[in-house]
Symmetry: C2
Subunit: 233 residues, 2 copies
């Protein structure tokens, strides 16, 4: 009989932020599938889940390279197909698999790239949601993301003040993930709209080197930074 | 000594979707604070957390009426202040409190309305993030909310096609919570842009009466419905 594939959100970094359901599954699973960005690199998701794993659990690492999706679509497609095929082979051996993903499996996860290939071979994964990095960040900041009838959006970049204005017109709250490429636009917007008190940044949320700041975005912010802008329109 | 106040996200409904950290806290807390919409009504958040509570834990229910924030701002402000005062009194008795909230405490939660009043009396809560209803819904649907460099937004209403067009121009993915008031606009947009295959609805996610559909939004959808629109721009 075909095994079961679980896609498990392990949350943003703190092992305490895994759900009970995820723990129950990874505790009794046959194989843990951990995504890595490069062979030889550690899997962040695996390290988060480690305290809950059986000592002798079989582990399989799958490479999801961090390359540009638009520029190297073919390379990535081939890689995703290869990974889906490996997963299908393990399932055919009757093994139950847990694919670990950082944060939530449906929000910017590599796991979701496997879906079309798994569908081709008729595999329907069961997905266990996880804590997103922006929710964990807001909790650490002590600042609500959205209240009442307000709206919010999640972006990975803002390239110009004109673009910023469009978002500002429609939203009371903006979350920006990986904001380093949007730094200049964000700082220009802070200046233009006097948002110094309304822009929060948190880097490496929940880890030892967590850093919180307000106002202008610094030049050397870490890749794992979340920015929260509250217009209070 | 002043007690500690924890704001705990218990997730959208399934008791398995509480985090390990939340369980550890509510398991050793002195007082559980549960929000209710009306005296005599059950607290959803309390029922979700129930399996993890000490048998003899002290419970306090606080009323957060479901009335219009814009129309009855004063009534609500008075209620929030009253609730914050009750919490402050318990903390002054040296008790540790866990305030339970559905989903995530920073995403549309009544808990966050207490912040300004707690700040006045110098109380800094510790917030534990939770699984949002839209992440749990996407997991049940088996559909990613956002991938790669895409963006998404979370709305509580869309009142016209013109407004819809603005969101469509800026986003590849839209999540609509409590969509019953936006039903006609969403259906008009489905017709106009031929989105029949790109609109997913899920009601009462994770509960016995969960319902999933695609395309036009039905007239009798439940209050607890999430709509996911994937433009694939």
């Amino acid at each position: 009989m075909l095994g079961r594939l679980y896609g498990i959100g392990v949350g943003p970094g703190d092992s305490g932020l895994i759900t009970q359901k995820a723990i129950d599954i990874i505790n009794k699973i046959d194989v843990i599938v951990a995504p890595i960005t490069k062979m030889g690199k550690e899997s962040k998701a695996f390290n988060i889940a480690k305290p809950y794993l059986k000592a002798d659990v079989e582990t399989v690492e799958l490479e999801f390279p961090m390359i540009d999706l638009e520029k190297e679509k073919e390379t990535l497609n081939a890689k995703w197909k290869e990974n889906a095929t490996k997963i299908a082979e393990l399932l055919k051996q009757g093994k139950n698999l847990a694919f670990l993903t950082l944060g939530d499996p449906m929000v910017y996860s590599t796991y979701s790239y496997l879906f079309p290939y798994l569908e081709e071979v008729n595999i329907k994964p069961i997905t266990i949601p996880g804590i997103t990095s922006f929710c964990a960040s807001a909790a650490e900041l002590g600042v609500p993301i959205v209240q009442g009838n307000e709206t919010f959006c999640v972006l990975t970049q803002i390239t110009s003040l004109e673009e910023f204005d469009k978002y500002k017109e429609l939203f009371e709250n903006i979350v920006i993930m990986k904001p380093f490429s949007s730094r200049e636009t964000i700082n220009a917007a802070i200046e233009k709209y006097n948002l110094h008190d309304r822009v929060y940044a948190i880097s490496n949320c929940g880890s030892e080197n967590q850093e919180i700041s307000r106002g202008f975005v610094k030049e050397d912010i870490s890749y794992f930074t979340i920015i929260l802008i509250k217009f209070g329109n």
